[in-house]
């Protein structure tokens, strides 16, 4: 029944899109002849992190085939090497521009928005052309695109017109003349090339099928970036570790594949832009409704004991951590954010920040999934969220149980 309703909704949206939604074709400016620099394109392709999605684990760079799990089925990224049969060897700079700016493939078919054209649409044409020039130079790999495995009706691409009518608008990047050049560069890198918002939505984002939560970057409670010095944000993006935190999971991949390759100047611009976007947190209930105050007191007590036994050796007695080695837990927004899934996940599964040029041999965090029960993990996470003035809501054993079920890949 729900599926039928959704189908109808998509159908209606499709009709609307056909009638009203199609914007007039924009005439794109011609590619600057010979002006597109391969080197600049290489850098932009890194900044846009084409690599992570368009490279399968263990596969040739940019040859595609990485599965991308969505709630609607599995998408497979495409081969963007210059192979004429299976890659984009027959594409022109205009074709790439259309994909990036309009979200349409060379044959005009609508692209799934897992390809973040909602962000890339505001790329500058000259940058898209430089990216194209660079992609012409990567080794051509013959590797046929795997067919997507989307469930009905999501396998019907024309229906994407409905989604687009609601969520996509072709646009161009407009500098804010009231802001500095640096701020505008940061905005372009964060909002367009880096497409940070694809995961870090304005209200934060639970990452579908991955069980990670991408904090809202403008929120103090979620990201806490307002209190970070610019140079520490730069350090985090460049090396994966900083005095106040480390990157894990999908963000570790972004740092390894993209951000560590950016110049200090660009990372500084991103940090300046990110720090400028402070939004007041809503004051609604802080979560934790599943735990009564009596249960919370119990969990805190048990958690304190477990913390001393298992955690304090690295994160220190009062959660102060060791800079760049073991992140502090006191005052760490990754612990404090309203959605506790990341804290639960990292306690269960541990992990390493990425190997980067600036931190090639990271210290790791042990997994505790096999040592601690759901209740014990709930206790220790409740404790680190509540101790040392952290003041975040408690976590229930049930939330830990769901955290055990998330895919680890």
């Amino acid at each position: 029944m729900k599926g039928l309703a959704l189908l109808l909704a998509l159908g209606v949206a499709l009709v609307l899109a056909v009638q009203f939604g199609s914007p007039p074709e924009e005439v794109s400016p011609p590619a600057a002849a010979g002006g597109a620099s391969v080197e600049r394109g290489r850098y932009l392709v890194r900044a846009a992190n084409c690599f992570s999605c368009h490279t399968a684990p263990g596969g040739a760079p940019y040859a595609g085939g990485r599965p991308i799990e969505t709630p609607f089925g599995t998408l497979y990224s495409s081969n963007i090497t210059p192979d004429p049969e299976t890659g984009i060897g027959r594409w022109s700079a205009d074709d790439l521009w259309r994909a990036l700016h309009e979200g349409k493939s060379r044959d005009g078919s609508l692209l799934y928005p897992a390809f973040p054209y909602t962000h890339y649409t505001r790329l500058r044409r000259a940058d898209a052309d430089a990216m194209f020039a660079y992609l012409r130079t990567v080794p051509a790999v013959r590797h046929a695109n795997a067919p997507h495995r989307m469930r009905f009706p999501y396998d019907k691409r024309p229906l994407l017109a409905g989604w687009r009518a609601l969520h996509f608008e072709q646009a161009s990047f407009k500098e804010d003349p009231g802001r500095s050049e640096q701020w505008n560069r940061g905005a372009y890198l964060v909002e367009v090339l880096g497409h940070c918002g694809a995961c870090h939505g304005e209200r934060g984002g639970s990452m579908p099928m991955q069980g990670w939560y991408a904090p809202a970057l403008a929120s103090e409670r979620d990201s806490g970036l307002g209190a970070w010095p610019v140079e520490e944000i730069v350090e985090l993006l460049k090396t994966g570790v900083a005095p106040r935190g480390a990157v894990f999971g999908p963000m570790a991949e972004v740092v390894r594949d993209s951000l560590q390759h950016l110049t200090g100047e660009d990372l500084t611009a991103m940090a300046v832009y990110l720090k400028s976007r402070r939004e007041a947190d809503d004051s609604s209930a802080p979560g934790g409704a599943l735990v009564s105050s009596g249960q919370r007191a119990e969990l805190m007590k048990q958690g304190a004991v477990l913390y001393r036994e298992h955690c304090a050796g690295c994160h220190q007695k009062n959660g102060e951590g060791v800079p760049r080695i073991y992140p502090p837990l006191a005052g760490n927004s990754a612990i404090l954010m309203r959605n506790p899934v990341n804290a639960i996940r990292i306690t269960l599964n541990g992990g390493f920040p990425p190997s980067t040029a600036g931190n090639p041999r990271p210290y790791g965090m042990p997994p505790f999934a096999h040592q601690l029960s759901d209740r014990q993990v709930a206790a220790v996470v409740t404790y680190v969220r509540g101790a040392w003035g952290n003041g975040a809501a408690p976590v229930s054993p049930g939330e830990v149980a769901s955290g055990r079920g998330v895919p680890l890949n």
């Binding site: 684990p57 263990g58 570790a252 991949e253 390894r256 690295c314 220190q316 007695k317 009062n318 102060e320 951590g321 060791v322 800079p323 080695i325 073991y326 502090p328 599964n349 541990g350 992990g351 390493f352 920040p353 990425p354 190997s355 090639p360 041999r361 990271p362 210290y363 790791g364 965090m365 042990p366 997994p367 505790f368 999934a369 096999h370 040592q371 895919p407 680890l408 890949n409």
Partner: protein, 228 residues
């Protein structure tokens, strides 16, 4: 000059002093506490009945190949795939070398399997089955089953369930190696009772005192295997 240094000293301490007042050792053992949680501080694998395999003393090339195979999803074991996902080739090579050089005590061997299983296992271990293109285990892993440098592992001192699971994973394509993947071909020929027998037999053998892998090139391999 000296007074300047003295003047600066408190600031230096402020900048360099660890926040918790506790020094963190710059050792691989400290960096790899994440691995120790399952494999033990010295790669011994945990207690005999637990699943986590011993990694200490396996050839460095073998360990490195496995870490890469986990990262690149040729081997499928989600906690391992996740753990190494963002680590570099260089770091993984260093980690492999670290565990290859360790030699913690071996656990006592498990009880031997039934007579029938024993016979079935020993036939495969010593002779293989040429009709089914199954080489003897010793043909590649060595007479003493210590493996051969740089990348063929020793087969003793492991839990029977772990060994059986690896052969099963090869059959089900959840464990793959570089092409040509000879163990996949061999595992595909083995029948479940044979897998159980071989695993139980291997787990029941005492690990010899000299547990160093054979030097590279000391065996002429009967098959062409990738990554070796």
């Amino acid at each position: 000059m000296r007074s300047l240094a003295l003047l600066l000293l408190p600031f230096l301490l402020l900048v360099c002093g660890p926040a918790g007042g506790q020094d963190v050792k710059d050792t691989l053992e400290q960096r790899l506490l994440a691995c120790a949680a399952c494999h033990g501080k010295r790669g011994e694998g945990l207690k005999a009945e637990e699943y986590y395999p011993r990694i200490a003393g396996k050839p460095a090339g073998y360990l490195y190949n496995q870490l890469i195979n986990f990262r690149e999803r040729r081997r499928h074991a989600p906690p391992m795939n996740y753990m190494v996902a963002y680590l570099s080739d260089d770091y993984l090579r260093e980690i492999a070398g670290h565990y290859a050089a360790l030699s913690p005590a071996h656990p006592p061997p498990a009880r031997p399997p039934s007579k029938e299983a024993l016979a079935r296992a020993e036939a495969l271990i010593w002779r293989g089955d040429p009709l089914r293109k199954i080489p003897a285990c010793i043909a590649c892993h060595g007479e003493a089953l210590t493996g051969m440098a740089p990348a063929i592992p020793g087969l003793l001192g492991l839990n029977a369930r772990y060994i059986a699971a690896q052969i099963g994973a090869w059959r089900n394509h959840l464990r793959r190696a570089q092409q040509p993947d000879c163990m996949a071909a061999i595992a595909g020929q083995l029948q479940p009772p044979e897998i159980a027998a071989v695993s139980a037999w291997l787990a029941s053998r005492r690990v010899p005192a000299d547990w160093t892998p054979l030097p590279e090139g000391s065996l002429k391999l009967p098959m062409d295997c990738g990554g070796i």
